[in-house]
């Protein structure tokens, strides 16, 4: 899962220090595996170099923790592209899909769109696997079944998430 994209998504909510980004990331996406500080600052300096974030202020003192980062227009566009394009379907994509849906929600983008592009991509692979299974021997069939059930589980989770978000959006609007 892309730490850089996740940081960008989090920064859409407003400028932030590296430390706070790390905390937000660990809380929402860390799954008991917190980011190392080295990763945090390496990611931020790469984003800075690529013009996707900019310095929003440096407080007195020195050290990386004094810098506050803000997302740039190019950064927002980058998040758009990321959320808009499907992940290459493969079993065990959950954490990336999860990050995409949560970030779509946090940044006010339609989660349904994430679902729609991903469904198309998943189904494409599922069709291939189904074809392969039809022509294959028992071992092929078992391997394909395993992949098919995992891909289906991803999609079902996405569908449920999108339905929940819909219900939530209706509640908010009401």
């Amino acid at each position: 899962m892309s730490i850089a994209k996740t940081f960008l998504g989090l920064l859409e909510g407003g400028p932030s220090h590296g430390y706070d980004l790390k905390r937000a990331y660990d809380e929402r996406f860390g799954h008991d595996r917190p980011l190392a500080y080295g990763q945090v600052y390496a990611t931020l300096s790469r984003l800075l170099k690529n013009g996707l974030v900019e310095l929003d202020g440096v407080e007195a003192g020195d050290g990386p923790e004094r810098k506050r980062y803000a997302i740039t227009e190019a950064g927002v566009a980058d998040v758009d592209v990321w959320l808009g394009q499907p992940e290459a379907p493969q079993p065990y994509l959950q954490s990336t899909l999860y990050a995409k849906v949560v970030l779509a929600l946090l940044t006010g983008r339609p989660a349904q769109d994430v679902l729609d592009v991903q469904r198309a991509e998943h189904l494409g692979l599922m069709r291939e696997l189904t074809q392969r299974k039809r022509g294959g021997d028992l071992a092929d069939q078992l391997v394909c079944d395993h992949a098919l059930f995992h891909l289906e589980a991803d999609l079902r989770w996405l569908e449920l998430a999108a339905a929940r978000l819909d219900a939530l959006a209706k509640e908010v609007a009401a």
Partner: protein, 226 residues
């Protein structure tokens, strides 16, 4: 490019204050298998009913070849359903008093085929769907999975141009559902029938050539979202 076998544009259908379809469209070619997906209550079955001439949309057109289903008489529509369309639903579609072979022969008989040839054809289809052994049993005495295969045999026996299937594997376990989908799509391809396959299961939809997603009564095709 030739015109699609069946197409619908701008379909609206309301039940009281519930808008079941809201500007839905659809097209399918001969020999194509199209999955109709979407959440419960999104309008999938209503779309299928409109496409099959079972329901008439409040607005919009359904064209089967050059026949406008909305403009056709009730008699013309039910004749088309008998001769050109086949149907498979999730439950309870076999006539309980008739044996499996009589059930499959029934639509042929209604189309004017004599009993012997109708039952001979029915027997072939039952064998093809791997349920030849229950031909003489009534629906109450066979399993749900066998019953579903009999229903598929019945839908295909008239060699329909369009097969409408609404959750055809909804009540089956994975292995049976898969086998039914294999047999159904194989037979449809062989006879160049178009299949409109309503399902919310991705593994079932994976037997289609493409999918159309219905949400809140609107249709979306993936190529439009990209």
């Amino acid at each position: 490019m030739s015109a699609p076998l069946l197409r619908a544009e701008g379909l609206h259908k309301a039940f009281g204050s519930t808008a079941a379809l809201h500007d839905a469209s659809f097209a399918i070619d001969a020999g194509e298998v199209v999955a109709v997906m979407g959440p419960s209550g999104s309008g999938k079955s209503t779309l299928l009913h409109c496409l099959a001439g079972i329901a008439v949309p409040d607005q919009g057109r359904v064209l089967y070849g050059d026949v406008d289903l909305g403009a056709a008489s009730d008699a013309k529509r039910s004749a088309l359903r008998r001769t050109d369309f086949g149907f498979v639903f999730q439950f309870g579609q076999l006539v309980p008093e008739l044996t499996a072979v009589e059930n499959v022969a029934l639509p042929l008989r209604l189309n004017g085929v004599a009993r012997r040839p109708a039952e001979a054809t029915a027997t072939e289809w039952l064998d093809r769907l791997e349920v030849g052994d229950v031909a003489r049993k009534t629906p109450g005495n066979i399993s749900g999975g066998q019953g579903q295969r009999v229903a598929v045999a019945r839908a295909l026996a008239t060699r329909p141009r369009v097969l409408f299937a609404d959750e055809p594997t909804g009540a089956l376990d994975s292995l049976n559902g898969e086998r039914v989908m294999e047999l159904l799509t194989e037979a449809a391809r062989e006879t160049s029938a178009a299949v409109v396959l309503v399902t919310h299961e991705a593994r079932v939809a994976a037997y289609s050539d493409r999918e159309v997603v219905v949400r809140d009564g609107r249709t979306r095709s993936p190529e439009l979202t990209r």
